[in-house]
């Protein structure tokens, strides 16, 4: 039974959900050994770096871990770190939610309406092909160098990622499921709430997860372009002062930040799928 199916090829390839692979540990049976290996690798690398700096490679290029730690400590002690972190975080989070919400809505609407998908499809493809960071100068013209410009930059990038995944997820909903629920008397709204959204949720979550680092990219690129606060600003101004340690310190903060975000979404995802039991 597969009536009235309008097959609409997805406008652009979305990233397929990979739930099974995501929570499979690398060395399932020996987590402790794996952890040990990771620690050895990390400290070995840092030690090598420390030794190489100034000896085999000029310190100007690669700085050294002790100096970077020193710089991080300095920022931490002066409270500067928290200020910049807060700015970047705010831009990223707001941009993420704005982009996610609009992307999800657009994906849902276009995914359910073959006509709208056909009409808007080419435009969306065209806009999506544009490297979004190239919009930064335009956004600076519009909004100046404050928070809205970074939010918009992050938001635009997130929008497309979430949009495509939601769109694909909604289109791949099994029509038989929709039909059987319709014979039970479901309204359009009930079909969306009870079948389409839950069924597309895995796709949506994949879209959200992959877009988290991109939200950070949008915010940081915006900061590097023009700003007076944020981690991107910290990196940029360190570089302007030829402070390699400061640049690396900024990068380290970004890495930790991105990892925290990814972990957070993984946690949310696990908990929502577990509670969707009724």
């Amino acid at each position: 039974m597969n009536p009235m199916r309008v097959t609409e090829p997805p406008i652009l390839v979305a990233v397929a959900p990979a739930a099974a692979a995501a929570d499979r540990p690398l060395l399932r049976d020996k987590p402790a050994t794996a952890l040990l290996c990771q620690a050895v690798l990390l400290f070995g690398f840092l030690a090598l770096w420390e030794a190489a700096s100034g000896r085999w490679v000029r310190a100007f290029y690669i700085s050294k871990p002790s100096l970077i730690a020193d710089r991080l400590w300095g920022w931490l002690a002066s409270g500067e770190l928290w200020h910049h972190l807060e700015v970047t975080l705010e831009e990223t989070v707001i941009g993420f939610f704005v982009g996610a919400l609009t992307g999800f809505t657009a994906g849902l609407v276009l995914g359910r309406s073959p006509f709208a998908a056909r009409v808007f499809g080419p435009f969306i493809v065209a806009v999506n092909a544009l490297p979004k960071v190239a919009l930064a100068p335009l956004f600076i013209l519009w909004f100046g160098i404050g928070l809205p410009m970074k939010v918009l930059l992050a938001g635009v990038i997130v929008f497309f990622l979430v949009f495509y995944n939601t769109f694909t997820g909604v289109q791949s909903v099994d029509d038989d499921l929709i039909n059987i629920v319709r014979t039970m008397g479901a309204s359009r709204r009930q079909v969306v709430l009870k079948v389409i959204i839950p069924s597309a949720l895995l796709w949506v979550f994949t879209g959200l997860r992959i877009s988290i680092p991109y939200a950070l990219i949008g915010a940081v690129v915006g900061e590097v372009f023009a700003s007076n606060a944020g981690i991107g600003y910290l990196i940029n101004s360190s570089a302007a002062q030829f402070d390699t340690a400061g640049v690396f310190a900024g990068l380290a903060i970004l890495t930790v930040l991105a990892a925290c975000f990814t972990w957070l979404l993984g946690w949310i995802e696990r908990n929502t799928t577990a509670s969707r039991s009724t």
Binding site: M1, P3, M4, D174, D176, L177, N179, I180, V181, R182, T183, M184, G185, A186, Q190, K194, V195, P198, S199, L201, T273, R276, S277, T278
Partner: protein, 264 residues
Amino acid sequence: MQATSSAKIEFHDVHKSFRRSGAVVEALGPISLQVRPGEFVALLGPSGCGKSTTLNMTAGLMRPSGGTVLFDGVPVTQVNTRVGYLTQRDTLLPWRSVAGNVAVPLEIQGWSGARRAERVRQALVSVGLADFAAHRPAELSGGMRRRVALARMLVSAPDTLLMDEPFGALDAQLKMVMQQQLLDVWQAERKTVLFVTHDLAEALMLADRVVVLGARPGRVKAAFEVALGRPRDVFSLQFEHSFVAMEKQLWELMRSEIAQGEAM
């Protein structure tokens, strides 16, 4: 065509064809068919002859390519929400638990949480799956999923049941239990049933009338009135002479009607 105002389901010269990349596949008919209110009709026919298509059109999920489908004397032009449909394919919502799946029709009808939970529990007890209320469909066997789908169909008490090979995946013993249960429900509530099966004995065991379709595009080859009393008991019925004789009779009828000997 006979007087039709009293029929529950009516097919008037209905045919259905599908277009597949230019080529037209004639799937069904034209067929004409009447099902009276409270009648139990079994639809029998070779694979691909259009049995599921017939149910889909009754449920309003497909439009006929020609002819009219009436339900309660009114043309079916949109999804028919008066029927309970047990589809051939598995259509449980995989992200919901067994209890959550059975609750769907009640949620749609706006039952309150407590009443709904109690009704769902009863329904699961009746198909012997009370212990699996919290399981996901993926954690059940094919036969168990069938029974969940059955519970989901019956829970909202529709007056017409469309069932597409509901018991095909069950073992012989459980099949009989479920058949008996269906008969009991039918006996008590006199629902109209359109029941698709490949199993000739099952058709005779359950139905008032067996409609035999020919190979694709399916047409009504024969209609066989099942002259067995009610209420029926499937356990004893299978050994009764009258039943065995009738089974033989139906086989012969089908052999002569469907000369091709399509796989049943």
